[in-house]
């Protein structure tokens, strides 16, 4: 249990079709490992890693989800509290790129509206099998107001950068927000304080049941 000091704790989810390499992106980022014959993830896995931005320690709590979760109840639990999302597709499989729109919709449905989304084209090492042109994806990303990067968990290119980028972006937004509502207590975040982008009041009250 990494109980070390940190200034910010951000929850980031990894989403995308099954088999695009989410788990390997995670293991590459947190443990610098890559497993060629990894099995599909069961349920959800967590990992953390801290990075430094502007002399602040930012701890990323990354949720690696199974790409084929059918139940909204569970997926929404995944998205709860997430401030960032890496939407991953496989550059060698066009179908996974096509499904990006579906995932975006799901994010809009379940996640916080202010969530920072990054489109990640994984498996950039498979150049000869490329099915999704970089330009096209870039175009799509800017249209949807997403950041974009192509990575390869296998040769580790851009993996670090992708996480750095999204975390920095979140950090900027959060610190901006903290400045904005300077009056609020959250302006000076103590160690171990988590930023909630959502209003805690928003629908998260199970006690307010619809019962009788």
């Amino acid at each position: 249990m990494a109980n070390d000091e940190y200034d910010f704790l951000f929850k980031v989810v990894l989403i995308g079709d099954s088999g695009v390499g989410k788990s390997n992106l995670l293991s590459r980022f947190t443990r610098n490992e890559f497993n060629l014959d990894s099995k599909s993830t069961i349920g959800v896995e967590f990992a953390t890693r801290s990075i430094q931005v502007d002399a602040k320690t930012i701890k990323a709590q990354i949720w690696d989800t199974a790409g084929q979760e059918r139940y909204r109840a569970i997926t929404s639990a995944y998205y709860r509290g997430a401030v960032g999302a890496l939407l991953v597709y496989d550059i060698s499989k066009h179908q996974t790129y096509e499904n990006v729109t579906r995932w975006l919709k799901e994010l809009r449905d379940h996640a916080d509206s202010n969530i920072v989304i990054m489109l990640v084209g994984n498996k950039s090492d498979l150049r000869h099998l490329r099915a999704v042109p970089t330009e096209e994806a870039k175009q799509f990303a800017s249209e949807n107001n997403l950041s974009f990067i192509e990575t390869s968990a296998l040769d580790a290119s851009n993996v670090e950068l992708a996480f750095q980028n999204i975390l920095t972006e979140i950090y900027r937004i959060v610190s901006q927000k903290a400045l904005d509502n300077g009056d609020s207590a959250q302006a000076n975040l103590g160690a171990g304080q988590k930023i909630e982008l959502t209003n805690p009041a928003d629908g998260g009250a199970p006690k307010g049941g619809k019962c009788c």
Binding site: I42, G43, I74, P206, C211
Partner: protein, 897 residues
């Protein structure tokens, strides 16, 4: 017989009838009617002397035929050993086409021969008549016929030519008589002369031949010739001949002895040994040579030196080595002399060796063995096997003489074997008893020490020990030591090398290799070469290294396994195998003897091995295991005040399994090296006692391990449950609600500890037992862990926030189970992972939660919906969501109400 009876009848009726045929028949019958039946005549002929036979042949044609009958003469040749049936057959085969012609020619030859013989016979008779009165005229009478007879046989009468009369004899069917005639002509005069002579100076033979060699030759011929003489009075004649030969032999022997005393090797000794050889094989001379040999008068050394020179209760084999070396040198010298003295034919060295073995070796060895047997058993065992080995090598250093056949080495071996035969039985028995006693005392001492110390200090957990690598390491050095050449015995350095190149000799000598068991190294002379230090180092290091290495490794192993020292010990096992090794090595020397003794020695080796297994197995390992299992079954985690990293008795047991496995592998290596490779035991023979014992031992080990593992799983699970109960904080899965949702992720302490415990114990077994047994054990452990976790889960309260911790825990268990590589087991833990997601669902999604609960496919059939429902009841907010869930699941709920 019947033909003769019928003949007169036919004859009687024949006159009355006037048939031509009958009258013809009658005529012939009358003419051929014998006085006596032919068989009787023939039998009588057998007993006639040759001269009478010839006279008889002259009486009628029929008699001639009877006398000339080839088989009669062939028989005589056969008796003398001069008829070669094979040769005769070959000759007959060659002359097939001209058979009748050949016969014809031979017939003419016959006549000539008969004529000549007849003539000679009459002359002989005349001569005999003369000889009876005047004894000095033999030569004259012998030579008189020769000029008179104008036959090709004339040169035969030349005495020199007669010496080789037998070599000219051919085996031809149909002319056996002529061949015999030749021999008779040559030898009969001498023979009959000899028979009549009164003293040894009389016979003409000693006058015709002056040379003792020739005399011997003729006498030998006469002995052969006498065999074909079975006419009346042959016994007296032969007796006479024998006495004559005796007299002659004595004279020759005297000459030989004189030569022997004067040590005139190439002169008199050589000459008379040959004479004796020609006369009758030379046994008398050999006997004399061997009996009077100076070798037996020399004292080469006393066997007691071996005992006296060594410290008390010990024995040094150096004096015996020197003794044998000296003996070998002497015998090899004698071998040269034998080659020079004796004619080819008789293996004199063999006879000499027999005598040496009986008179020298036996007398050297027997008191030594008896004495050392009385003094101390180990030195006795060492003496017997050591001297035996030395004797075998001694045998190898002997040089064969020209007369020793190809089986010289086998002969030498059997000679040595005869020396040791009386000792082998006792030795093998003692060897076996000695080993048994030694092993049993060893184990007993151990037991006693154990009971004194009491098994309280046994728990000692060793962390971070790479067992498998250690074991492999240890075993490989063990193998090296076992494979080392026989080193318990000092071996003889090559005898000759000492003189020529001292440095060379040293390097040939095996370097002193101390035995692990710590028995004293047999002292050995150091023959320093030009650079003693250098050669010493280079030759002794390589062979010494592995032993030391093993000792070091054993010590290392022992110190690492200290924790289980008190149950059974690898050191003991090592010691026992070393005792067995030395015993078997000693006994195995005798296997070389072959035959019954070798077989007995081989059996004794097997018995020693079987005993090793029995003592090691039943007395040592089994007891240890039983104790460990006993400790296991008594274990109760709640009573143990101090919880270390592992379950103490289980660790002990698992370490025992490791040690047991090590011992079993040691035994295996030992078996291969000591019994199977030297062909003492046949590993494919399933009835072989050693194989049976080995199987039994392994089976015993497996059984103990299985029984212990069974108990061990119980104990392990007890411990797991105990850890779960004590370390899992209620807030782990149900953290106090913080508005900011401040939680960290990662597995809980409890889960980590559980995984640690289980993992450390299962890892301990890896590589120590059979893989299938390990799989079964792992599967069982996994299943029991699963059950324990389910039980544990049902005792917890889990909030949505806490579910993250739960999921982390389940992921951790899953990761551990994946290392076991058991697909079936993995399914269970997959289901647990899926299950833990149920707690992640927020209360507002209660309806869908019901769907998740009911989704049997999701849990891979491990949980039924009802079971999942039970788990869902453990949600912290269950009472708020229960209605919705139940309504969705069963269609009942407050809405209906």
């Amino acid at each position: 017989m019947s033909t003769f009876k019928r003949a007169p009848v036919t004859h009687a009726g024949g006159n009355n009838r006037n048939s031509i045929i009958t009258s013809l028949k009658a005529t012939s019958m009358i003419e051929s009617k014998p006085v006596l039946p032919a068989e009787i005549i023939s039998t009588i002929l057998d007993y006639l002397p040759i001269t009478d036979l010839m006279s008889f042949a002259r009486t009628s044609k029929r008699m001639l035929e009877m006398v000339y009958e080839d088989s009669r003469w062939v028989q005589r040749l056969q008796v003398m050993g001069l008829w070669d049936a094979g040769e005769a057959r070959k000759r007959a085969g060659i002359g097939v086409n001209g058979n009748s012609g050949a016969r014809k020619t031979s017939t003419t030859l016959f006549d000539a021969g008969v004529e000549e013989e007849r003539q000679r016979k009459s002359m002989d008779a005349a001569a005999k008549a003369v000889r009876t009165s005047i004894d000095g005229f033999e030569r004259l009478s012998l030579s008189t016929p020769s000029p008179a007879a104008p036959t090709p046989r004339a040169p035969m009468l030349d005495p020199e030519a007669l010496l080789n009369i037998f070599s000219g004899v051919r085996s031809i069917r149909g002319s056996a008589r002529q061949e015999y005639g030749k021999i008779y002509a040559a030898l009969a005069p001498f023979y009959y002369d000899l028979a009549r002579s009164r003293s040894h100076v009389d016979p003409v033979i000693f006058r015709v031949y002056r040379d003792p060699e020739q005399q011997a030759q003729m006498l030998a011929h006469l002995t052969v010739f006498a065999r074909s003489d079975w006419a009346q009075g042959w016994r007296q004649r032969e007796e006479k001949l024998v006495t004559m030969i005796g007299i002659f032999e004595n004279a020759v022997l005297r000459e030989f002895e004189q030569g022997f005393e004067a040590w005139d090797v190439d002169g008199k000794m050589h000459r008379y040994a040959h004479v004796l050889g020609v006369l009758n094989g030379g046994h008398a001379g050999i006997e004399l040579f061997v009996q009077k040999h100076a070798l037996f008068n020399d004292r080469l050394g006393s066997s007691m030196d071996c005992i006296n020179q060594a410290s008390s209760d010990n024995i040094t084999l150096e004096p015996s080595r020197q003794f044998l070396e000296a003996l070998s040198k002497k015998i090899n010298e004698q071998a040269d002399i034998i080659d020079r003295v004796f004619p080819p034919g008789e293996d004199v060295l063999h006879i000499l060796l027999d005598k040496v073995a009986e008179d020298i070796l036996m007398e050297y060895v027997t008191p030594l063995f008896d004495e050392s047997h009385e003094r101390s058993l180990p030195s006795y065992l060492k003496a017997v096997s050591g001297i035996f080995d030395q004797s075998m090598q001694f045998g190898l250093t002997l040089k064969p003489t020209k007369n020793s056949g190809k089986d010289f080495l086998t002969n030498v071996k059997s000679v040595v074997a005869r020396v040791f035969e009386p000792h082998v039985d006792l030795y093998l028995q003692e060897e076996h008893d000695y080993f048994k006693r030694l092993a049993e005392t060893e184990v007993d001492t151990w037991d006693k020490k154990l009971s004194q110390e009491d098994a309280t200090t046994e728990s000692f957990f060793m962390a971070n020990v790479n067992r498998q690598a250690d074991k492999k390491d240890f075993l490989s050095s063990f193998k090296k030591v076992v494979m080392m050449p026989v080193n318990v015995l000092p071996s003889l350095p090559p005898f000759g090398a000492a003189k020529t190149a001292p440095a060379n000799r040293f390097s040939l000598q095996p370097a002193p290799s101390p035995r692990l068991s710590g028995s004293p190294i047999p002292s050995r002379p150091q023959t320093p070469g030009p650079a003693p230090a250098l050669t010493g180092i280079s030759s002794s290091l390589p062979s010494e290294a592995p032993t030391d290495e093993l000792a070091a490794k054993a010590a290392l192993m022992a110190s690492r396994l200290e924790g289980i020292r008190s149950l059974f010990s690898i050191e003991i096992a090592l010691d026992l195998t070393h005792y067995a090794k030395s015993s078997i090595e000693r006994a195995a020397l005798f296997v070389r003897l072959g035959g019954q003794t070798g077989e007995e020695a081989r059996e004794q080796c097997l018995t020693i091995f079987v005993d090793l297994l029995q003592i090691l197995g039943n007395r040592h390992v089994k007891v240890g295991f039983d104790k460990a299992v006993d400790h296991l079954s008594k274990y109760n985690p709640r009573e143990v005040s101090e919880h270390q990293q592992g379950v103490a008795p289980l660790v002990t047991f698992l370490e025992l399994v490791n040690v047991g496995d090590l011992i079993s592998q040691m035994i295996d290596v030992f078996y291969e090296q000591q019994l199977a490779s030297p062909k003492l035991a046949d590993r494919n023979d399933f009835l072989d006692p050693a194989v049976v014992a080995k199987k039994k031992f392994e089976q015993m080990l497996d059984e103990r391990v299985a029984a212990g593992l069974n108990k061990g799983i119980d104990v392990l699970m007890d411990e797991v449950e105990y850890v779960c109960a004590t370390t899992q904080a209620p807030t782990d899965y149900n953290p106090p609600h913080s508005p900011s949702g401040n939680y960290d992720i990662g597995p809980t302490k409890c889960a980590k500890q559980v995984v640690d415990i289980v993992e450390s114990h299962t890892k301990m077994l890896t590589g120590s037992t059979d893989k299938t047994m390990l799989d079964v054990f792992n599967q069982e452990v996994g299943l029991r862990l699963f059950t324990a976790l389910c039980k544990h889960l049902k005792r917890q309260r889990i909030s949505t926030d806490g579910s993250i911790a739960l999921i982390s825990d389940m992921n951790l268990y899953f990761l551990y189970i994946r290392t076991l590589k058991n697909q079936e087991l993995l399914e269970y833990f997959k289901a647990l992972r899926e299950l833990s997601q149920v707690y992640l669902i927020e209360a507002k999604h209660a309806k869908e939660m019901a769907e998740v609960i009911a989704d049997g496919k999701r849990f891979g059939g491990v949980f039924r919906a009802e079971e999942v429902y039970e788990f869902a009841e453990r949600r912290a907010d269950w009472y708020t969501v229960k209605k919705d869930v139940e309504r969705a699941m069963y269609g009942i709920g407050c809405g209906v109400m």
